[in-house]
Amino acid sequence: MVSLSPADLQAINLSLQVAVTATILALPAGFGVAYLLALTDIRGKAMLEGIVNLPLVLPPVVTGYLLLLLFGRHGWLGHLLGLFDIRIIFTLRGAVIASAVVGFPLLVRSIRIGLEGIDRQYIQASRTLGAKWWDTLFTITIPLCSRAILAGTTLMFARSLGEFGATIVLAGNMPGVTQTIPLAIYQYTSTPGGDSMALSLCLVSILLSFVVLLIGEGANRRLARR
């Protein structure tokens, strides 16, 4: 029987909050970067692609540490945000940023493949029919790669739910503040007698990820039928 303590419920709640916020924040930026990479001839594409994909190949702890340097009190972004009294490290914002950065390449990769698969003549046809570029973007480009956007979003959301390494470095592991499911499990496994509690949260984690993928697949089928 799975039994969950109030702290566990809080961790589940925080995990969902972090994953939802990170995904929503990353989606427009992810689409923008994928668009630049797939459909434009800008200079420095290889560089941009390299930077976007770095979190995919770096150990998450390293990503977390780099973010810590960037957002720390002496980091240039941290310093800037400090002027507006906004703190990132050891806050839920930090957990969101860590998840967003680590999941970003998965999102960009999926959307980019979708965009590259669009026959450019659809876009050209739309433009010659009098649609401005943003009109074409919303009526042709996005609908034609909606399945790729969905796949990327699902992947990113699932990845955010499981984010550990970068989060623990940037946001710490504070129950009720930044402790998400993976961090809670980590804490249980390093506490004597915490095994059954860890197992319960593991089951919740599996269930959540499974539900997310299931919903994604269901939506994908609906889009495919359209």
């Binding site: 659809y122 050209q124 010659t128 009098g130 649609a131 034609l144």
Partner: protein
Amino acid sequence: MLLEVDVEKNFGDFQCRIAFSLKSDKCGVFGPSGSGKTSLMHMLAGLLQPDDGKIKLNGLTLFDRQAGINLPPDARRVGVVFQHAHLFPHMSVKKNLFYGLHRIPLAQRNIDPDQLIMALQIGQLLDRSVAKLSGGERQRVALGRTILACPHLILLDEPLSGLDGMLKYQIIPHLRRVFAEFSIPMLFISHSLQEMRMMTEEVLVMQHGLVEQQVPTEELARTSHGSGGRGYTNLLHLESPHDLGKLLSYRWGEVPLMLVKTENPAAGEFGLNSRDILLFKKHPEATSARNMLPCIVRKTYQTDWLVGVELDCQGNTLIAEIVPQSLDELDIRPGNRIVAVFKASAFQRLY
């Protein structure tokens, strides 16, 4: 329409240097693959930016590098019908059709959608999904979609080459009817001379990124097809079909013609190759050929290795091709009488 183009585009291993001025509303761009036809189309529609030069349509500058003008595609009012229709797959036929119209200010909408839908005979397709249309239906919807955006010029990029055989020619009457009814200038891009002849009056002949010739379509057909080894195709509009058992009789203007019976006996457009026509000085007494037409020679002209003979058959024009020796032996000169003979099976139905 007045279209003035003088542009350059360098693709590295291929250079386009295109300059022409067109006045006719029914123009064509003819040339083999890789001659620069599609690049020209993209530059006119604003989908490809020339390196240098100017493009003007009815006095409006679409592109002028020196003046720094480059209107985006949505501001040019130059419509494109793509080779494979490219109907938006996530929209119904109706939504595709009205996509352009809804983006035009009310005051500029000068096409009646109902009239167009009727002319293209696509009324019954409106609620279907795009995936369920045949090739010919797709092209008709694509044409309708482009026309409803009320363009000042329509570019047709090999719109028939994706269709096979008879289907190709079946769409031509729709095209002709619509362009005549709505009087929209067009530039018909194709590498098929046959299509070009049915759709246009004047042609730009492109080769290696240059405009080599600007000639009336008929003139191009007479000279280039003769040298192509396939002969010139006379296009005959035959009417009033009448069943005579194993043969069908038709009227070509005032001239009665016999054709072998086919599944489709309706009136229509037929092709007759110039090399399937025999010329006799006098009316032959007995022959297996069913058509013997007394004609008057209008003129003769030299093709690469044959002689083209333009004949007047009671007001109709017929082109025959013969070898130079026959020309002398039969004394074929303008004003002389001659009999053109061809078989009932020599015709090919186009549509």
